[in-house]
């Protein structure tokens, strides 16, 4: 008896179905829980399967495998190929030799990183050697004509009535289209990222030129602050998309920001990174970068008192369910009033802190310690 089930909420909206058919010598329990709703081809295959399954008999079961648009083959317990369908021949680009070919119908196999995958280490071999099902293992098949097909492998062990391993069945899904789409998206992302970086470089250079050409001290200071802010945004941009499309590594991010500030302030500031760990969501990158930049600027402008140099320590770390950004200095300390300006200094910190859904707190004790706590569902871990 075969019971077939697949997820009710698959991407192709296939209604949950169970069908039964009698095959005395073939236990196809591998079908249970198979990750089927992977492609439109599989959804079609399932409909065909359901139709044929209602007819009963092993002969029909073979017809059903033959009719599947997904590549399917079976082996005995030693890995010798015992059955394959047309789709398997198409994917492999060759006619397998029954009883001679081992482990896989393909000519050659490669791992996704392009290294050769020996047939006796392929997903089917692992399934047989370890008697366990595998789902969606990615590999690349090379046909005898040299063309390559990326696919996902779903090998499942087959057991007899006593539970003894008697062979395995493997389905292979051609994912050429998906891979091409992924490559296109990656190229577009790279192009976009490249343009953003270039434009930021240009913006920074443009403001830098304006700073040099400004004649009043106030204008130069305002432009210098603007250059540093753009520099902070640029530093934040650097690390984005390097680890993942949605998150960035906190450590290189904080290092780049402190470097930006340090280059700008020269001997006026001594900046130490106490802690920077974890990964943060991209949405937080620019606000956090600007907040840190503003806090460091504030420390240099107001935390130096009579000394020529301010020592600051920076930490960005997860605390409980929230993130904590802390900047401490060895200056005279200050109490947080209502900032006069909102687009710079502590006014900007408060505004961006609100954008992050966070809180801003200043503790004065042997210097000032500014702490911004933020969190929420879109900041990871």
């Amino acid at each position: 008896m075969i019971q077939l089930g697949y997820p009710a909420h698959g991407p192709y909206n296939v209604t949950k179905t169970a069908c039964e058919l009698h095959t005395p010598d073939l236990d196809a329990s591998w079908m249970n829980n198979a990750t089927f709703a992977q492609s439109a081809g599989t959804a079609d295959a399932l409909r065909t399967f359901e139709h044929l399954a209602t007819l009963g008999t092993e002969e029909n079961f073979r017809k059903l495998l033959e009719a599947l648009p997904a590549a399917v083959f079976t082996t005995d317990a030693e890995g010798r190929i015992t059955f394959y369908n047309r789709a398997a021949v198409e994917l492999a680009g060759r006619e397998p030799v029954l009883g001679v070919d081992n482990w896989c119908v393909t000519w050659r196999l490669y791992r996704p990183d392009g290294t050769l995958l020996p047939h006796d280490e392929c997903p089917m071999a692992i399934t047989l050697k370890e008697d366990r099902a595998l789902s969606g293992v990615e590999a690349i098949a090379e046909r005898p004509d040299g063309t390559r097909v990326p696919f996902l492998a779903y090998p499942r062990p087959i057991h007899d009535a006593s539970g003894k391993l008697i062979g395995a069945v493997k389905m292979m899904l051609d994912i050429t289209d998906r891979k091409e789409a992924e490559n296109k998206i990656r190229d577009l992302m790279n192009e976009l990222n490249h343009r953003v970086k270039n434009n930021m470089q240009m913006l920074q250079s443009l403001l830098g030129a304006a700073e040099r050409e400004a004649s009043s001290a106030e204008a130069r200071e305002a432009l210098s602050d603007a250059v540093r802010r753009v520099g902070a945004m640029a530093a934040a941009q650097q690390g984005m998309y390097s680890a993942s499309a949605t998150e960035f590594e906190v450590q290189p991010f904080i290092e780049a920001l402190c470097r930006n500030a340090s280059q700008s302030f020269g001997a006026k500031a001594d900046i130490h990174i106490v802690e920077a760990s974890g990964r943060l969501h991209n949405d937080a990158a620019i606000p956090v970068a600007l907040i840190l930049n503003e806090l460091l600027t504030n420390a240099v402008k107001h935390g130096r008192a009579e000394q020529s140099r301010v020592t600051t320590s920076v930490a960005l770390r997860p605390v409980g369910s929230q993130w904590e950004l802390a900047v401490a200095d060895d200056g005279p300390g200050f109490s947080l009033g209502q900032p006069r300006r909102r687009a710079s200094g502590l006014g900007l910190v408060m505004g961006l802190g609100r954008q992050l859904g966070g809180t801003f707190q200043v503790v004065s004790d042997k210097g000032a310690r500014c702490v911004v706590r933020f969190g929420g569902p879109r900041t990871a871990e």
Partner: protein
Amino acid sequence: MVTAPAPEYAVETRARVLAVEDDFFVSLEMETALTDAGFDVIGPAKTAEDAERFAAEMRPDLVVMDIRLLSRRDGIDAAHAIFDTTGIRSIFATAHDDPHTRARAAGAQPLGWITKPYTMDALIALIRRALNDVKS
């Protein structure tokens, strides 16, 4: 008559840097910042062909090379040509930072790599380190 010994520092020459950058604002800032930092700036070249010609004629100590230029051939092509004909090496200053691009550039034996957006201070620090590497 007492003759003062010639001061040793008098023979010190300014390091010469060829700037290859097609963006007007970036090249302007680079030229100003490098000159202020004590370098002789050659260029800026905006195409691979200009970069190769300037390198051959002016023999800089090193090249600051952007990759995307206003020419069909890019900065990596230019860096290879310059290295092959003169032995002069490049610092790549570019928004490209992927393994494929780095692998393409490896043959020109880059002196360093700085990713856009960078600050001029960071570029100057890298040039100073690279010049030390070239000398030693």
